[in-house]
């Protein structure tokens, strides 16, 4: 599992940001210049780091902080997402 610093160092270049931009308290869609496409790219990058990563569908990435994202990226897997849900 990457440390927080390693995590942001891996993500920042793909988003055109520096690791310093990705401070733990900053919200992705509010405090950072990320639009919906950037957030989509972010998901792809995180999945490259953690194949099992899946963001819960109830969550708006816009309001997620970098610290939250690190938590999701390092602990979230399919079980977190699908528990209690039934596809038709």
């Amino acid at each position: 599992m990457p440390s927080f610093d390693e995590f942001v160092a891996q993500l920042a270049p793909a988003l055109g940001l520096t690791a310093g931009d990705l401070a733990p308290h900053r919200r992705l869609g509010v405090d950072l210049p990320l639009d919906e496409l950037s957030l989509s790219l972010l998901l792809v990058r995180i999945q490259e780091l953690n194949e099992d990563f899946e963001l819960p569908d109830q969550i708006d990435l816009e309001d997620v902080t970098v610290a939250d994202l690190y938590h999701f990226a390092t602990v979230m897997g399919p079980g977190h997402r699908e528990r209690g849900r039934t596809a038709p």
Binding site: G16, G29, L34, D35, E36, L37, S38, L39, S40, L41, L42, L43, V44, Q47, E48, E51, L55, D57, I59, D60, L61, E62, P78, R81, E82, R85, A87, P88
Partner: protein
């Protein structure tokens, strides 16, 4: 109109699938458009009948984008005003307001672009957007799409004149950027299905 899954072209990814419209989703789209929550032709529909007519007018193919986990339709995407002789169509995509800024529904756009480029052997997908909507995905300029043209003060959105932009996703761009991203998503979806 095509509603069946064409052989060999993936219509389902890791998060979403392209599905035929249900009557309920058409009704929901009308409600959203009438409430000005989605920019239907840059203005709200005048009547339910006019909306139903515009929903299918000039359409080559269109699908609902469904959340795989819940079966909920979270957006819609369509190709219209096609010119298959010259190899282009116009693309329209709208997300349900509750599913904006979640990022994963955009997988539906990758599936649809792949479907169009594969099935119809297109050269260009065009799309139109305005200042206020372009801001939602401007990071893709030069990588995902190009801005082909700009018509100044072309439309009125919520009482304010806005420029209309014509965007292009070329086949070349798609093969270089979009297709590899979709393939990675599909690989992950297959790996999950196997495990």
């Amino acid at each position: 109109m095509t509603v069946a899954e064409p052989s060999g072209i993936p219509m389902q990814g890791r998060y979403t699938r392209l599905a035929p419209f249900s009557r309920e989703f058409s009704e929901e789209l009308y409600q959203l458009a009438a409430a000005n929550l989605i920019p239907w032709q840059w203005h709200a529909p005048e009547t339910p009948e006019a909306f139903q007519d515009s929903l299918w007018r000039g359409v080559l193919v269109q699908y609902a984008i469904q959340d795989l986990r819940t079966g909920r339709s979270v957006g819609f995407i369509r190709a219209d005003n096609a010119n298959l002789f010259f190899g282009f169509v116009y693309l329209t995509m709208m997300m349900h307001p509750a599913y904006r800024m979640k990022a994963w529904p955009l997988e539906g756009a990758l599936l649809f672009a792949n479907y169009l480029f594969t099935k119809f052997n297109l050269e260009n997908l065009y799309a139109e957007t305005t200042d206020s909507y372009l801001k939602q995905f401007a990071s893709g300029i030069g990588t995902v799409f190009e801005v082909e043209g700009r018509l100044r003060n072309r439309v009125v959105i919520n009482g304010k004149r806005e420029d209309l932009y014509i965007l292009t996703i070329s086949r070349e761009h798609w093969l270089a950027e979009g297709k590899p991203a979709l393939d990675r998503n599909l690989d992950r979806a297959r790996m999950r299905a196997v495990s």
